[in-house]
Symmetry: none
Subunit: 299 residues, 2 copies
DNA sequence: GTCGGCTCCAAGAGTCGCTTATGCTCGCCT
DNA sequence: AGGCGAGCATAAGCGACTCTTGGAGCCGAC
């Protein structure tokens, strides 16, 4: 009989690569970890870890167990959350993970409303870009993930086992330096920017930019690329190039020395909130999704 | 912390509608069930069962927990099944690395037997010479390494932290071109070959050759050196020189134009299978080692 | 009214798991 | 090459837990 407690320890060992580090993370002593792993290997009937002096690695059986552990532990925590919510303890907490430009706009609005409507609920916020944030969700490291996707169909398949709550469509706008020949154009065709020096954002957005430009018949010359959108705005403001970036990303940035222009053809990214099917039943999670929806419609 | 064991009991209670019946189904006494449910309700923080004189029904929280229990317990049993399959040799993989002349003789025999005895196990094979293969083993890039050593004592120290399974002793034989003055000698003293042009094999074998010749009182003139044993045989067959090489290396090569002769004094290399101490406990690895041993004794 | 089944309660014994303490090996730095 | 620190294993001791046995209370059925 494999016990969930053992799986939790195994996962910590696999994540940290060390018994001692796992013990620190779990808040117990190293011999406890050692004994639990011994017991788990005994009940599994085969070694799960290989100790090679310098590091501890997983055997194939160990990998199998860690893979299952994610689902099992996620199910357990989901069950605990839901029961706790029903128990009316209002000890319910929501662990939210969001991409940077979402956490500065949608999230504050939603969390303020959530706190007003349900005092006692606690929310933790961590920032992570979509590929990583969805992984955290599946691993049970968070309850709700804010993510985005370009073109509705592209990444739909990878989320088909999740609850997807569409929030809003975030239009891409152009950003050019003041004094640029198109600074006062109001609206520009993207092809008009073919010869410019480009400043790109996060990897996903960068790929999207290249795709859009390709359809317009040119390859953008990307001189700078950074995940930091205020930095992108700063670079454009300093006259180092032009950029195309989500409207939400510049909402909380003062576009000093830069001007926004509408870009044709219109391109949008869809911002969604994700959660696990089981978690969607948990009141605090449901309330968080609702508040995010409300914040999105107000924006 | 909700425990899987509790969920199992809860499910039995929900299914049977009675503590006593659940106890009978689970093979324990009724107070045990009673206490477990008490503990589960304590950790859930809310009642899960309503005892109405005649029958016990689930509360909403209880229903939620039972609903989650299905998935969690299914995940646990699935994990157990998969691990048991690996432990029971109905599944699992072994990553084997071998030196070239081993992979064409011992390995095919062993893998055929392994597949016959345990269908479902998968084996991957990569070729690498001993220094590199042992490194791969230590780095976790393979599970079993076929290697060899000359003279039992020389390289023993570097493997003292590994599990060494001796397979067979591979005798060195001489190879001379047809028409050579010693082609029909049957057995030759190595000193008789002092003046010949030599064709050497892999670095380790080359060093061994030089050592043996030094003991016989001469330095071999090595005109060609290649890791490719069929090439060595070909060169000898073409009359370009003589060679001394492991019997196993020429077993799968048709010695066209070349003749083998016994060399005195007899020199052997020991062929062994190596693995890490922890991995030796893994069923698939142990089975692979056994089949290699069996293949070696049959050869 | 009595009986049978079910549940809860209490006490005892055994087991289990954690912690502290200690020894050992390995890698690293001097 | 030797000392040092980190990490893992092991042993003993202790507390907690869980199961069992035995008994009592409760409700419905006959």
């Amino acid at each position: 009989m494999i016990e969930a407690r053992h799986l939790r320890v195994l996962r910590a060992v696999a994540a940290t690569g060390s018994f001692s580090a796992a013990a620190r993370e779990l808040g117990c002593t190293q011999p406890a970890v050692s004994q639990q792993m011994k017991a788990l290997e005994a009940s599994a009937g085969t070694p799960l870890l290989v100790r090679t002096g310098r590091e501890t690695r997983l055997t194939q059986a160990g990998e199998v167990l860690v893979r299952h552990a994610a689902g099992i532990l996620a199910g357990l925590t989901a069950a605990e959350e839901e029961v706790a919510a029903i128990a009316g303890l209002r000890a319910g907490r929501v662990r939210l993970v969001s991409f940077p430009s979402g956490s500065s706009t949608l999230v504050p609005t939603a969390l303020a409303a959530l706190r007003a409507a349900h005092p006692g609920t606690r929310v933790s916020l961590v920032e992570a870009e979509p590929p990583r944030s969805v992984e955290m969700l599946r691993d049970g490291d968070c309850d709700v993930a804010l993510a985005f996707r370009y073109g509705a169909g592209h990444t739909a398949a990878e989320w088909d086992d999740l609850v997807v709550r569409p929030l809003l469509a975030d239009r891409l706008v152009g950003l050019v330096p003041e004094g640029h020949r198109l600074a006062d154009a109001g609206s520009v065709e993207i092809a008009e920017l073919a010869g410019e020096s480009w400043i790109a954002g996060c990897p996903r957005c960068r790929r999207q930019l290249v795709d859009v430009c390709e359809e317009a018949g040119f390859v953008p010359r990307i001189d700078f690329a950074t995940d930091d959108y205020p930095a992108v705005v700063g670079l454009v403001g300093a006259g180092l190039g032009v950029a195309v970036l989500p409207e939400l990303a510049i909402e909380s940035v003062r576009p000093k020395g830069a001007r926004t222009v509408t870009v044709e053809p219109a391109v949008e990214r869809e911002i969604v909130a994700l959660t696990l099917p089981d978690l969607a039943q948990v009141p605090t999670v449901a309330a968080t999704l609702d508040e995010l929806s409300r914040a999105a419609t107000r924006a």
